[in-house]
Point group: C3
Chain length 429, copies 3
């Protein structure tokens, strides 16, 4: 749309409050220095001599997870017509900041005492996975917040998520894999609640920006493919110690992803009167299988079950993408930019329920008491994840909505212009 | 080209038959459910306790191959000006579907009895590699078929390819690496024959869409680079058991790729009156070295031979790209969209011939009888691959050309509009 | 900008000298054949039976480095509005050519005798890392040279770099990791000196092309992210033999990168009157932490030091991007297209100084004589790298500036049109 941007475009941003300038660098540089000071006093590297092969294996998994969060989540939301730069760069910023904070937090919560935290390669892996919760939630508020608000949200969310994981570990006896897999449900509800506080009547002009363009959609597809390819690494990342469970996790994730990709594309075509496929459905629903199989991937012992989960997740996710936006927008007043609820929330919920059913089924059938106890723990853990996501999300949304943060005006939603210095020629897309 | 798409563009597709809607989702969902049922009755996971290090190694190779097929093949053809979405997404769809089918097929053909198939990580690796045959052939018919036709073609092709591999294994005594490397010749001829049945006089307006645009070409380059980087993994993927052969395979592929990249760019510049380079040559010919060295990569014991193969392949491939399209279009009436014949067909043929020469040379020189026998087996295997590719490809082309599939009208060739729901703003590219 | 390219664009390039056609393919094909002949007489593969696990580990590292140089460096400079094709493709061309030459050169310089060079997988890894020096320098002259000039520059530079590394190994007792890490300083100064010889008064029309466009910038971001993700592999690539140093290198690089990403984005926003961020700062400064920590990453034993280095590097790099271009352009007459000086030069210098300080500090405090000797060696090695970069760069610049190479006219700077055959529709960006 060359020309439009030049003549009438909001380039100069005359209404844009100049105070973000004071806030953001001050905030983040002070934060960064504070982090360095804390690292100085409270951390040390793990100097125990490890098996080098195990070390390399951990490094490979860390790398796969980093590819997912930096490239996958960076590009999956870059399909917004005028918001590609912010999607990718803010994603990197949040990731880099949150990983540092999460390593510290994990360490302190693990030992529950202020002595020195020993940093291992696996701590960074865990911190990167925790950071993913922030990147999921950010999808729901994308384009409606400035970077200061995102940073605040990120720090609160990852803290809440890590505290929730600690509680699940200590009181619900859930190991790291199981408590980490609550990430989808937790982050989706958290993101939705924050987005709810940012409901504004969107002008048509703004709605137009909440669209994809042809080449941006290819970038979005790139992000989706990175996530799709490396999802088996994510689901098996915390099962390094038991090769058989790890193998199962890879197998099942692979099958669930394959089936959900086929399902998503088919159903998207079924829903259109002329059989056309919707690119946004693909971006989201293709991954639903990986999300849904996450919690139980180590348990499932034959492919058909993973495939059924993938099929169901694909149906739910595409169905959600078809029906929910309208309902969310008009009835609940939630504008879920990246479709977080049907990409992560619903399939995640399905996965958790499947996990509870499977684990109850596997507990020795005779011991009814034990089943009940187990069931209680499982349902408790899931409720905790949802409750904390909803509650802390709501509180965060309320705080972020304060005037002092000078969030972008609704007419500047979904627009890179508010945040980026453009050379005067870089108009259009 | 903003505006054009809006005013005169074939957006509403009034002539587009609405029946694909009934076909595709019905077809693929039924197929998916059928696959789940077959998996339920006929498969189980490999539960034998494996060496965890070997498992991880297999997983890494599987991942490399998945990157090649999902990202590499997905994006290499995305440089068509108006067909980027379909290239990438249909590629993913075919991959996800075919891998499921190929795992079953490989299992049944391996044991030749209807007992339970044990799925290993290496089965998925093999299935993903077989799926590549479909993605290669799809390049030749790209933009001229709808998704139903592609799915049918994919299922037929991967079945034929796996049967051919089984015959080669049983009767021609070719191990998995050697029979897999016939993929290039088989898939290229298969694709060409199918494309031959889709010859239509192309209007100029349609021809214009069969062009690249600047940013799409960068996506194409991205796909090329993924293939280029991971090709050594592909060529050595089935040599996991013999470290020395594997090392040779990596070395030789690496050298052949480097030389063919240099050759392709140089020759492309040589052919233009003003010394300009053609981007399409780069996309294709850069990979020719990897294709050509595929069959014999484990045998070659010094770099110069791999480099000579890379040089020859680069020459043949760029030469083909310069001369063949005209000839194919006007004399044979084959429109080879993605240049499959000179990207995979010709270099593959070169590679097979080189392999036959090398293996004949290595057999003990005194035993003439043995040489003859070996030669016979080799030539037989190659002929089988070509013959099956041509024949099954022709039959598939005939079937796909039936009216019942409601393929896109020739005026809709190379156009995403027929398959994708666009937001009304996403015009141009 | 549809239309512009068609009507008034420099498509036909009537002033463009047709002689590049004769030069380039002749040159490079003869060179390629010469390389094959040298490989025929002077090389053989390593046939000693190696530990397969170690082999695979080396292969993984080689792959990571290849991803960095082919994808990372290919795309990081593709954000020039009209120069994306050349950035990516010339990068691949130079990489493929230089790796072949560097393997030979490394071999001969290692043994300093003309007997057969034994090629190992680790030789290719080393050669790929040496090739990076060329790709760094190429960033400074990007868009101002034709491919013949780039090839010449590449061969001279990699030869000089390998000779410098050999001298450092033999006479300054620096091991491979330490001498390799001089790559940033060497390549930056080399590139700057070459760019200095290409100073021309740039017309405004040309300056306009030296801009980014929206979707090109996402490609640039893609390159940046690949580099960011795999930088820990690069910094630890030559430490395969000592697991503890390798682990430290990964940790420290990871932390330095995270901090420099946060710093770069914050400071970029601080510098703009409205708090807007500049995409070019992100592309460059995000990596500064990895560069700065390169030399000393194996030494640093607690995260805070790496973080301080990352913070300082981020400040220096963004500061450089803000102030230096103006100064370089107008006072020194150097037009540093890719910002090589503040991306690699300054952070590299910081890293070398930090390394000298750290290593001096670690030498036993009582032996003053030894400290002095060590200090002398360290400062000598750094001075050698800078001096050779400056001197050989200047000489190369002088030679490349000769009329016989027929470099592009200043009005064709930063323009793909001079090098690429475009289909007549591929206008705009």
């Amino acid at each position: 749309m060359p020309g439009a941007g030049v003549s009438a475009g909001p380039r100069m941003g005359s209404k844009y409050p100049p105070s973000m300038q004071c806030f953001l660098p001050l905030w983040t540089l002070v934060l960064e220095v504070a982090l360095i000071v804390i690292f100085f006093f409270f951390t040390s590297y793990d100097t125990s001599s490890q098996d080098p092969k195990k070390l390399m294996e951990t490094y490979r998994v860390l790398q796969d997870v980093t590819i997912m969060v930096a490239l996958g989540f960076g590009f999956i939301n870059s399909s917004l017509r005028r918001y590609g730069w912010s999607s990718v760069a803010f994603n990197l910023f949040l990731l880099a900041l949150v990983v540092q904070w999460a390593v510290l937090l994990d360490g302190f919560l693990e030992q529950l005492s202020p002595k020195k935290v020993v940093i291992k390669l696996s701590s960074i892996k865990l911190a990167t996975m925790s950071a993913m919760s922030v990147l999921i939630s950010a999808g729901a508020v994308l384009g409606k917040t400035n970077l200061v608000q995102l940073v605040l949200m990120a720090l609160v969310e990852v803290t809440a998520f890590d505290v929730m994981r600690m509680i699940q570990r200590k009181y619900f006896l859930k190991d790291n894999h199981v408590n980490m897999m609550h990430i989808h449900v937790f982050a989706a509800y958290f993101g939705l609640m924050v987005a709810w506080r940012f409901r504004r009547p969107l002008h048509e002009r703004v709605m137009e920006k909440d669209q994809t363009a042809k080449s941006s959609s290819l970038f979005g597809m790139l992000g989706t493919l990175f996530l799709w390819i490396f999802w088996p690494s994510f689901n098996s990342a915390l099962l390094l110690d038991s090769p058989n469970e790890r193998k199962n996790a890879m197998f099942n994730t692979y099958y669930a992803l394959a089936v959900s990709a086929v399902t998503a594309i088919s159903v998207s075509s079924l829903a259109h009167p002329q059989g056309k496929i919707n690119m946004n459905h693909i971006h989201n629903a293709v991954l639903a299988g990986g999300v849904a199989v996450g919690a139980s991937c180590y348990l499932i012992s034959s492919p058909w079950l993973a495939m059924v989960l993938g099929l169901t997740a694909g149906l739910i996710s595409t169905g959600g993408a078809l029906c929910l936006p309208m309902y969310f927008n008009h009835v609940l007043g939630i504008h879920d930019t990246g479709g977080v609820y049907y990409t992560f929330g619903l399939p995640g919920l399905l996965g958790e329920i499947a996990h509870i059913v499977l684990i109850t089924y596997q507990v020795d059938q005779t011991k009814t008491a034990m089943i009940n106890h187990q069931l209680l723990l499982d349902i408790g853990a899931l409720s905790l994840a949802m409750a904390m996501g909803l509650l802390i999300g709501l509180l965060t949304g309320l705080v972020l909505n304060l005037k002092i943060w000078r969030g972008p005006h609704v007419s500047k939603y979904f627009d890179d212009q508010a945040f980026w210095e453009f050379p005067h020629l870089a108009v259009g897309f």
